[in-house]
Amino acid sequence: MGAVHAKSMDPLPMHGKDLGVNPDDLMEHPEPEPDAKQEILENKDVVVQHVNIQGLGRTKEDLLGYEISDVFNAKNLIDVMKKAHIARQRLLRLGIFKEVEVLIDTSEGADALPNGLDVTFEVNEIKRLTGSYNTMVGNNEGSMVLGLKLPNMIGRAEKLTFQFSYGTKETSYGLSFFKPQPGYFERNLTLNMYKVTGQFPWSSLKETDRGVSAEFNFPVGPTSHMLKWEGVWRELGCLARSASFAVREESGHSLKSALSVCIHIFTPGLSLLIRMSILSIELAGFTGGDASFFKEDFELQLNRRLFWDSVLSASLWGGMLFPIEGKPSCIADRFYLGGPTSVRGFGMYSIGPQSEGDYLGGEAYWAGGLHLYTPLPFRPGRGGFGDLFRTHFFLNAGNLCNLNYGEGPRAHLQKLAECIRWSYGAGIVLRLGNIARLELNYCIPMGVQSGDRICDGVQFGAGIRFL
């Protein structure tokens, strides 16, 4: 087999996992090759004759065709390498291959052109079944969690996951089936079936949900959309004998069917998430049939880089719940506010309407935050662990209330603007990956209304979604 031109050019890595090199990096390649060789490298016109994938087991080839088809359009060698790299990333994001290696060779065979190339992707499929077993210890409860995953079940990147958690207090499980559209991985369908239980000590409430849901995601330009239908059998109960009567009145079973639309607009520096749902909750025949709600909430976040590596971030959340037939809303659907993940300085979800110490949530809320993130003073551990930490100065404000729907929008806005709770302070933030965050803050709550529970002084928070 003939020497591969690409192989003989040392500086350009062609094999292996560490092809984490960006197309831009490739462009920067500044090696001072003698002119003739450089010419071969950059200006030679090539034609990609064959693109092969080797190592397929159960994956169907038509699925992959879309991901690699762009490689055929490459006009010169650099282009081939760039497009091959992009195709490799696309294959990896399907989640069905453990590793993908790219091999570029001159083409051979009877129909080989002098400037023809063959690109081969050598793939290693993920095992058919993976499992995991964990034990978890949490709030006075221990549990055993068993997870099973069947990636690429039928050959077109479908995924079936099953998780089962057996604990000293509660048992929960979930089965999920994910199917992307071949060729458009971002357009996908997920079907879920689950039972989850939750305990909410701030409301003395416990909730058990058994439900099914179907979710369809699709991108439109720079935005991502989700359509979801969910049918849930919801059981509410009191967490303790001392629960207030208002919470006790909400105990019992109900059937909820909800259709929701969620739009996520994400551009550098700006993120906007809007969610609207139409909920239908079937309740007592006594009151004449179904009750429906229209629930809407949004989250807006703006980030801007300032001098000296610091970032200014502003966020605004809000939501409203409109009952459609005059039936009172259910405690499990209302909004809650307060705590280390929303308005800091207050107890967890401990703002707003309450009865005997149990927080009942509200039908409308807004919350805003202004944050300044800076690197740690004196930058300890720079370049390593210290980079995960940030100091953070914040100003949070928010309000949560129920509305009287006869009064019109003006009265609603007025009500939300009265009795604003707000707080300010500073602390340290630790980012865990791109997902979770730990915070340790010193907070000073202000605008506290009677009935709110505050947590002034040091407050610790861990979570995914922070104001």
């Binding site: 059998w233 109960g237 009191c238 004998r241 009567f245 006790r248 009145e249 105990s251 019992g252 079973h253 109900s254 059937l255 079937e282 309740l283 007592a284 025949g285 006594f286 179904d290 005997e356």
Partner: protein, 264 residues
């Protein structure tokens, strides 16, 4: 309730007098409530009337789930929530209202024994007929139990409750009984009550919680329509029990009709 919990509730209860806005919660009267629940609720209402304690009856479809013990009825008095006749009697006693204070110890023991008889025989028989007799279950019970909910929740909850009651029947040894045997048990229980009552107006010299309990169950059986009239006939064959029910109804329920109090 455990002893410590009872003592605690008594202490809390003794602190305040019986308020005006005491409420009793039960399932919906027209469509949902079942024989056994209706009997228990009527027993409590009768007891409170006998004590002269005002209570308002409120119907809620989720009353069974609101109740702290899962049983109907329960009362909401001040800050307290108490369910079932036994604890409610204790609760009212702690507030200073009692019907059985005039009895001596022997009589009180006898009263408790008869109350246990009613609970173990009559109440269990009612539950059996409601949930374990195929005809009744499919024609009446399942449909009524699921009325407040829409499909498929009405079926799921009705079947869940049916399995739960069947398990309980097996646990008390009634799992193998036939409906006829249960009717026989009801007859025997009525006979014992009839013999004890004799020609007296009440079981003891004064009306007590036993009278309230017996009235609750018998009156409900006499006035509830089931798939057949077997149960009704068995109870009706004891004439002194019939007149007992009539007497209590007239004394405590009809006499207040003029004042707007609803009949049971």
């Amino acid at each position: 309730m455990s002893l410590a919990a009872e003592a605690f509730v008594s202490q809390m209860a003794a602190a305040e007098p019986w308020p005006e806005n005491a409420t009793l919660y039960q399932p919906l009267k027209e469509d949902q409530i079942l024989l056994s629940d209706s009997a228990s609720s009527l027993a409590v209402q009768t007891y409170l009337r006998m004590c002269g304690l005002p209570v308002q009856v409120v119907c809620r479809p989720n009353a069974e789930y609101m109740s702290p013990s899962g049983k109907i009825p329960f009362i909401h008095v001040g800050n307290q929530v108490v369910s079932e006749l036994g604890p409610i009697v204790q609760f009212s006693k702690a507030k200073g209202h009692s019907l059985s204070d005039g009895l001596d110890d022997v009589q009180r023991a006898e009263m408790k024994a008869y109350m246990e008889l009613v609970n173990n025989m009559l109440l269990t028989a009612e539950l059996f007929i409601q949930w374990c007799d195929e005809a009744t279950v499919s024609q009446i019970t399942r449909h009524r139990y699921g009325t407040p909910y829409s499909w498929p929740l009405n079926l799921i909850l009705a079947y869940q409750k049916q399995w739960e009651v069947r398990r309980k029947m097996n646990a008390v040894g009634w799992g193998g009984k036939t409906v006829d045997q249960v009717y026989e048990d009801v007859s025997q229980c009525c006979q014992a009550l009839s013999q004890r009552l004799g020609t007296q107006p009440y079981f003891f010299k004064i009306p007590t919680e036993l009278d309230a309990l017996v009235f609750g169950h018998l009156f409900t059986i006499l006035t509830t329509q089931l798939t057949n009239t077997e149960l009704l006939e068995r109870v009706r064959s004891y004439s002194n029990l019939l007149s007992f029910c009539r007497r209590i109804e007239q004394t405590y329920f009809e006499s207040q009709k003029a004042g707007g109090a609803p009949s049971p």
